[in-house]
């Protein structure tokens, strides 16, 4: 006989304001098998938890239903409380009265009725719960960091400095990411590369960090503490062990007109190249898509001729390596929309309409103009420059409803840098709102407006077109009673929206993590688990989760690193035992499994094996399925497939889900087991 305790939480007004919690508790008390039922203001508070613990002892409860918020929120809390009172934590279930009931329905009898039924279902389930012991698995104390931008660098250094091994992979030939492309950083205007490059070098030299550049993740199998990462090391065509980075090959390479990714397309590079002078590693790779040797069947070969070390190796092949890791930090960064995304700004055909990232390169001392602001079309210094904030962002018509977060600040910085370099020039900024939340941020924007005399116009720009060598920017000043504004500009900078990287959807799928509708990776909880993903052991850092500035990226990276370090602080970790198993029974059947093995191919984890049942003399009696508990993740697809119901799953067993379904709408089927 079950003795179930039901604990209804008001969650202050969150549930209590909509659901008649007292009535739910009264109704629940009448369900067969319920020995105790009570409602309380905040079940998750200390007094609330103590109520549960006391009731377990006093009423000798065999199971507990806490009807409160989503189990995704507080299930661990209450399971812990229950176990402190001496019963198995898996004998506690939660009914979701908040997210699935009080928050989505109006105050009404039907809402209370729904709450009662949700409790009833969980009471029926918990009566059939079994005490379970967590599964212990070993932890591989090596972290994989995906991406070598500032977030990845920070996470890698923090993990490495706490004494654990780190594998960092970066898809481009150098680490550094977007930060290495920036000129100066807000709100201090210190040089981006000056603060970044020491960190890059530290990564390269750290004894705990193994760096693979020009490398991509191709697959991730396994689970927390026990992942196997397959990494493709793209052929660099240069043996970096031999290469001394002299750069002779780069100087001789005849293919010189490849748009330079590092300069956001504003400059050119050669086919054998180092992305930028401070690159780490500072050794070149050959871009096979553009190299004549590869595109035209072995013609050219100049670089091999000039290399005195003999480091050029055209025969190198892509290599796939497999590495065991215990945790993953995803720090793959973001991208920005190109100017071609904007029909009203000329579909990207005006050379002097550029993106904010391109402006960074123009303003950077290491950029194509050596830091002078010159426009791309004719190299002239623009005398009248227009910045357009929210280009694409916060615009549902463009499919990008969100705020890209960094644009207000960098646009102010751009206008400021322009004014510092072109003293007599005119700078205007079209903006929707100025979002300058952050330490010294608002002050920074005010400085741009007040000290550097940047003309801030509150309004959108409807069109840019070219006329007589000028870019006519047609907009509106909404603070002047929506008066139309036309500016004849020499150059226009669009603060285009920050977007998820191309291929991030596929990456999320291969990592088995969730992503939002804009393909940014999804955190496990928007407030309380902002660095974890829904997949245990995989953390997020930086702008791959949402657009972020440098301090936010670095903070999140350190947060992710701490999560990894905490995971690595134990030799074993425990994991929920909610896994499938094939039944076993006595002779002569041994198991109802008949060994058809139709289940084998449904398991994505290859967890289903064949087991031979033999008699005492070693003669085969039958062959049946067996589920490897180390591999099973508990999806239960095999459970639903098995015709003879020989496979069951802890936590969502046949008898549990059956009872849950039968409990709904059907008073008669309730029984106390």
């Amino acid at each position: 006989m079950s003795r179930i305790g039901v604990f209804i939480c008001h969650c202050g007004e969150n549930i209590g304001g909509t659901v008649d919690c007292e009535k739910v508790a009264e109704t629940a008390a009448k369900y067969p098998g319920v020995a105790y039922s009570v409602d309380y203001k905040y079940m998750c508070s200390d007094p609330g938890q103590n109520m549960i613990k006391d009731a377990i002892k006093e009423h000798k409860l065999t199971g507990v239903v806490v009807a409160a918020c989503s189990p995704r929120m507080h299930e661990p809390t209450f399971r812990k409380a229950v176990s402190e009172a001496g019963i198995n934590p898996f004998l506690c279930e939660m009914a979701n009265l908040r997210e699935h009931c009080s928050w989505v329905h109006l105050k009404d009898d039907s809402t209370t009725e729904k709450a009662e039924e949700l409790v009833k279902v969980l009471v029926e389930k918990v009566k059939r719960n079994q005490p379970l012991e967590p599964i212990k698995v070993p932890v591989t104390k090596t972290a994989l960091v995906l991406g070598g931008g500032i977030a990845g660098i920070q996470a890698a250094l923090d993990i490495a400095n706490s004494g654990h091994k780190v594998i960092m992979i970066e898809k481009s030939p150098s680490i550094g990411g977007h930060m290495s492309q920036l000129s100066e950083t807000f709100p201090t205007l210190d040089c981006s590369q000056c603060i970044l490059t020491p960190r890059m070098v530290e990564v390269a030299q750290h004894p705990n960090i193994t760096l693979y550049t020009y490398a991509e993740l191709v697959g991730l199998d396994g689970f927390i503490g026990n992942f196997q990462a397959s990494i493709k090391l793209k052929a660099k065509s240069i043996d970096h062990d031999i290469c001394n980075g002299c750069g002779d090959c780069i100087a001789k390479c005849p293919i010189k007109k490849i748009p330079d990714e590092f300069n956001a397309g504003l400059g050119t590079r050669t086919a054998v190249y180092v992305p930028f002078p401070q690159a780490v590693p500072n050794k070149p790779v050959i871009d096979r898509e553009n190299c004549t040797y590869f595109t035209r069947d072995g013609k050219c070969g100049l670089c091999a001729k000039v290399c005195t070390k003999g480091a050029i190796d055209y025969s190198q092949k892509d290599e796939i390596i497999t590495i065991d890791v215990g945790a993953v930090v995803v720090a793959t960064g973001f991208d920005i929309k190109g100017t071609d995304f904007f029909p009203e700004y000329g579909y990207g055909r005006y050379k002097d309409v550029i993106t904010g990232l391109q402006f960074e390169r123009l303003a950077s001392a290491s950029g194509p103009t050596l830091g002078e602001i010159k426009r791309p079309s004719d190299g002239k210094v623009p005398q009248n420059i227009v910045f357009i904030a929210c280009a694409g962002s916060r615009d549902p018509a463009k499919g990008i409803e969100y705020c890209s977060k960094i644009c207000c600040m960098y646009t102010a910085k751009h206008a400021m840098l322009y004014k510092h370099k072109v003293h007599q020039g005119k700078a205007s900024v079209f903006y929707m709102d100025i979002r300058a939340g952050g330490k010294m941020y608002e002050e920074f924007v005010r400085r741009a407006i007040e000290e550097d005399d940047v003309n801030y116009i509150r309004g959108r720009v409807s069109r840019i077109y070219e006329k007589n060598g000028k870019l006519i920017v047609k907009g509106v000043d909404t603070l002047l009673d929506a008066y139309p504004v036309e500016i004849e500009a020499d150059m226009v900078v669009l603060a285009t929206a920050g977007i998820a990287n191309e291929g991030s959807e596929e990456l999320a799928q291969s990592l088995h993590i969730s992503y939002d509708q804009h393909n940014f990776f999804a955190e496990a909880h928007p407030k309380l688990k902002p660095v974890e993903t829904n997949t245990a052991g995989i953390m997020l850092a930086g702008a791959c989760q949402s657009p972020k500035d440098i301090p936010d990226s670095v903070s999140q990276a350190s947060g992710a690193a701490v999560k990894v370090a905490a995971l690595f602080s134990k030799d074993e970790l425990t994991r929920d035992p909610l896994i499938a198993y094939v039944n076993r029974c006595g002779p002569p059947t041994y198991s109802t499994c008949v060994g058809c093995f139709l289940c084998v191919s449904v398991c994505p984890y290859l967890a289903i094996e064949k087991e031979q049942i033999k008699d005492r003399n070693g003669n085969l009696i039958k062959e049946v399925a067996k589920i490897n508990p180390g591999l099973c993740q508990g999806c239960g697809t095999c459970v639903a497939l098995c015709r003879s119901k020989s496979i069951d799953i802890y936590g969502y067993s046949h008898s549990q889900v059956f009872a849950e379904v039968m409990a709904l709408f059907n008073e008669r089927s309730l029984e106390n087991v």
Partner: protein
């Protein structure tokens, strides 16, 4: 002979008669019979939709319903304003079953709102363009600014034209007529149609900007596919010239008239005598300017 339902609307019976004439003449050349929807009525542009939604849907819906009853599945709507109203009605009725029921009651016609409106540009692309090249007898020597105005390509959610800020459909048509399409910036700017009668000076100012941009880039004439666009650029030319340093004399032709000319049809058959800015065939004898004042050409050469 292909038969297509046809809704001329008020403009094509009045101020833009030549649009009607040229459209019918060209269609005949391609063995297409345009059959006017019997008993059609006002589309409700431009005022109704600001005042009464159900009325603004019911008016064009009646024409859609009649076309359906007369056995058609789509309907050609040459006027951009009519097109916008009919397409709005089509969309609203198809996504809102309750509204459809209501409108059925008002009209006292049982229909399913499945007749889809399409423009003259769609019509040309589908039925004329595939056979156009072989039929051109007199290639047009002209630099043509194709002007779309507002409602032929917008709002993008309703009309679903690619590149709605810089459409290229008419450009591809005039290219096949042997002419050079102009790359310019004001293709979809406002001509001031709504104020055509009440505020002629505003219309003049708006049109002057359109004319100025096209002419400064070397346009010799305009192609349009909307009666209001044509009226404003043509009939209000005097008002526009007030704002221009140099008086503009480039004629404004309907795309159907241009096709007719290239096919070798008679000027009169195409209604070319009805324009305010006179059109002479000699215009095709003048050399077309190579250099343009606009910057965009140069940029592309860099």
């Amino acid at each position: 002979m292909i038969k297509i339902a046809y809704f001329p609307g008020c403009s094509l019976e009045g101020s833009s008669k030549e649009y009607n004439e040229s459209l019918l003449a060209v269609s005949k050349e391609f063995e297409i019979q345009l059959e006017e929807v019997h008993d059609w009525n006002c589309c409700g542009a431009t005022a109704a939709h600001n005042l009464n939604k159900v009325l603004s849907i019911s008016l064009p819906a009646r024409t859609l319903a009649l076309a359906e009853k007369q056995g058609f599945s789509e309907i050609l709507v040459p006027c951009a304003a009519c097109y916008s109203r009919l397409l709005t009605a089509y969309n609203e009725l198809n996504k809102d079953a309750a509204l459809l029921e209501k409108v059925k009651e008002i009209l006292e016609i049982d229909f399913s709102a499945k007749v889809k409106p399409f423009t003259v540009i769609d019509f040309i692309q589908k039925h004329i363009q595939p056979k156009l090249k072989e039929k051109v007898k007199k290639p047009l020597n002209a630099k043509i600014a194709c002007y779309y105005g507002c409602l032929l390509v917008r709002p993008p959610k309703l009309v679903e034209v690619e590149r709605y800020e810089d459409p290229l459909m008419m450009e591809s048509i005039v290219k096949e007529l042997g002419a050079t399409p102009l790359d310019w910036a004001f293709k979809t700017e406002c001509c001031g149609a709504g104020l055509s009668v009440s505020r002629t000076s505003t219309v003049g100012k708006l049109c002057s900007k359109i004319l100025d941009d096209a002419l400064s880039r070397g346009a010799t004439m305009f192609a349009v596919a909307c009666p209001m666009c044509q009226s404003n650029l043509d009939m209000r030319r005097r008002n526009a010239n007030v704002f221009l340093n140099e008086k503009a004399d480039a004629p404004v032709l309907f795309i159907t008239q241009l096709i007719g000319l290239a096919l070798g049809l008679d000027k009169k058959e195409l209604g070319l005598q009805r324009h305010f800015v006179p059109f002479n065939l000699e215009i095709f004898d003048k050399p077309i300017p190579k250099e343009t004042l606009g910057k965009s050409k140069k940029v592309e050469e860099v």
